[in-house]
């Protein structure tokens, strides 16, 4: 994968961040993907991917407030950067182009 295209899991993580709005952090991202895709996602995959996306400049993080239910530890919130949005749009467009006119073919099976 080069930085000009997104892996499938990277797309899932970016979309989950967007769906969470301002409150996207480790647990919420993980649960979003699990709930929406029904896949059993392992925790480290999310962390390692978030870290990589941040290094590529596709997302940005900030530390939030310290919370008692987290043993006084802060959440790390993520936002999708413009570069990330651009890549998501490109992925979506590519997929839509590929899908175009295939509804009938898929429904046959």
């Amino acid at each position: 994968m080069t930085s000009s295209s997104l892996g499938e899991f990277e797309q899932l993580v970016l979309l989950a961040i967007l769906r969470n709005g301002d409150a996207a952090y480790g647990v919420s991202i993980l649960e979003e993907i699990r709930a929406r895709t029904g896949r059993s996602v392992l925790r480290p995959a999310v962390y390692v991917t978030l870290r990589r996306l941040e290094q590529k400049g596709l997302v940005r993080s900030r530390m939030g407030e310290r919370l008692p239910e987290r043993g006084g530890r802060a959440r790390k919130y993520y936002r999708v950067e413009p570069a990330g949005l651009a890549l998501l749009r490109a992925s979506k467009a590519a997929l839509e182009n590929m899908w175009e006119g295939l509804q009938a073919a898929l429904n046959e099976r």
Partner: protein, 885 residues
Amino acid sequence: MIGGGVPVVARWLLARCVPPEELEAVEGDLLEEATDHGHGRLWLVIQAGVVVLGFVVAEVGRRAGAVHAAQTVSEIFDAEGVGMEGWLKDLKVSVRSLARRPGFSAIIIATLALGIGVNTAIFSILRGAVLFNLPYDEPSRVMWHSDGWRESGGWGSSQSLPNLLDIRDQASTLADLEAYGYRSMNLAEADPPERALGLLAGPAFLSILGVHPVLGREFTEEDNLDGAPDVVLLTHGLWQERFGGGSDIVGSTVDLDGTPFTVIGVLPESFEFRPDPRLLMPLKYGGRLGEYNRRGRGLHAISRLADGATRESAQAEVASIFSRLAEAYPESNTGWTTFVHPIREFMVPESARNSLRLLSWAVAMVLLIACVNVANLLLVRSESRQRELAVRVAMGARRSRLLPVFLSESLLLGLLGGAAGVVLAYLGLPVLVSLYGASLPRADTIAIDGVVLAFAAGVSILTGLIVGILPALRVDVGRLAGQLKEGTRAVSRSGQRVRQALVVVEVALSVMLVSGAGLLLKSFQRMASIDTGLKEPEQVLVTNVTLSAGAYDGAEEWAAFFADLVRSVEGIAGVEAVGITNRLPLNGGYNVTNLYRYDDRDRVSHFVELRYVSPGFFDAVGIELLAGRQLTSADGEEGTNVVVTAELARQLFGSASDAVGGAIVFEGAEEPERIVGVVSDLKDLGRTRAAPPGIYYANGPGATAGRASILTIRVQGDPMDVLPNVRAAVNGLDPSLPVYGTRLLSDVEAQTVGVQRFNMSLFGLFAGLALLLGAVGIYGVMSYMVSERTRELGVRMALGARGGEVVRMIMKGALSLTLAGMIVGVVAALLSGRFVVELLYEVEPNDPVVLTAVVVILLGVAMAASYLPARRASSVNPVEALRHE
């Protein structure tokens, strides 16, 4: 939030593997989710482990230069390959692919079985003998006290009650201290009569350990008074085996040494002390108090640290108290120091800990070598599977599909190897334990239990991952796709380099192990060749007889019994000489005292080991008379004539002949003793420690060994043959007496090098395995290299290269790898020498003879392992080779 936050284990794991800037968020996420879903601490630990695994795999992937490394982890864990079905499918493929190559699979499984088997075996010994839980309350705060005689340097000598009580009263770092001792007794009620080891415990002994009886009561201060009724606490084992385990035992009486003792309680089954007592009795301070007893070292002590105190602070304080005691009572304490050790160091002897620590490293290295070998073989195979993989890639498989294929195969191999390894360990364990001999603590608890199996499973899985990850990470999807187009099998240069590096590692590890084995072998030889001073010890039967205290009254009766016994045993056919002694040769260090020359005004004090022997003792064990005469039974009547060893004669009078007729005085005594003879020296503290010289009294009413004696019987023919007759002789005099502790004097001698023999044999075994595996590794790599170069070699031969040149060329390649490995290995062996140094005797870790021998052996093995492939290379038929492509 769940109670206690993130468990320590989980935090420790995370802190090591998660980048610091992610740590807070990851820990917080885990806690938050645990709180939301009501997960417990176990869940937290497991999740932490999963997170750690993910970060580790990502990091390993990045460092190993895997293609698109950063993506490895999400691909491995991405749902595509991770679903149970995916793994099952991969597993089926793996089973089929391994079954297709039974030879290849068998070699790998056997290699892993050796590596995992030796680790499992050593771990079960380590677990049974060293890593067990002490059944005490806060065992790390319980200390063990001992004195040390400065000249011999060690700790572990026994102590006197007046000193111990002074230390207890003055030490603020100790919450409490209690003395204890040992006394063996004849348990007459049992059938057959049993010689039972009793622990004499002061009143606070059990409360310091935090042990409470399961039945009845503990000892009180009143039980400890002189003249208090005789009471006893039974251990759980004795209660069950001898008294049927009924609760009505409390209040009943048992006969010990002819005296009735009232049972006041039973200890819990978990109770444990060293050596293993059968019953506990009150110590009764009375007779051991008073200044005269300050020199009589026969006790030890345990203590519990005060709040805030550490072992170091207690050691410092107790040592300073003791040095004040040495000033106040020089005649009892000069030349002595005192020590405080955690009780675990007493329960597990230092020699066992040292040797098992070293052996753990050795087996870890054997496993590492096995892993290197298997990784090498799998790497070779993955190269030869390039076509198959290329086809898969062309059909659209991504790395995420290929990784599980590799990993499931190597995991399967790891687990199969582990299962075979556990069988090996199960079969080999009894042999290892018996090799160690009596000095291995808790030998009866050593077994392959659930924890050991879990260890083996963990090692197997780890091994499977390690050997699989390298070939898996080297799959280059891009290159594979290209290869199919080219239609040829390109030799991977970097693959070749990796394999060569693995051989270098393997040789280096082998050098370290073989040199360790060589050093231990040399020091064992040094030690075993020390003359112990005994003659033909394999012809001497040794057995113990101890009179019951209640049945014999005083020195006259004891002496009469043993004199009768000696006469009666002398009459047995095949018996050449019979002696009795209160302590066997090589087992000294217990009855030490001071004396000086009678005519020495300065009273220069000499340490001596005191023994009471019968006149036949010297002949029986093979001690030679150097000057003067033997002891006689008349000497025993008077108790004033002594025989000394050559060393003491030299110290006191300059020579053996000058000593005869000389007079000596024991410190504190008025009347002198006269030297009538001088005999040869004994190595009394085992072979390697300097022991005090000896002095011998003739056993008799005038100088009594007491009720306990050891019979030493020199026999013509097999000494064990006379044992029934010896037993009959003892029971002819007193049918209630047990005959116990029977063995040969040569066993006593062998025991002094038991630990060394164990170290040497096992290390030698592991080094042998390392050599074997190393040879297989070199052979494998060289064979593969030859088969890869068949075409090139064919061309060379066609152009006129002779077979000899080809052999030389191939072997040169193998030798340069071996030499590189040797240089690394020798440097590593020199650097790690300090780990073996405490197990060596009169051998330096950088012993040039040993290192030279190791280099020669490894060169030989490397030459042998590369010769076969080289021969095969030289017999390449040029026409065949060229047509082949």
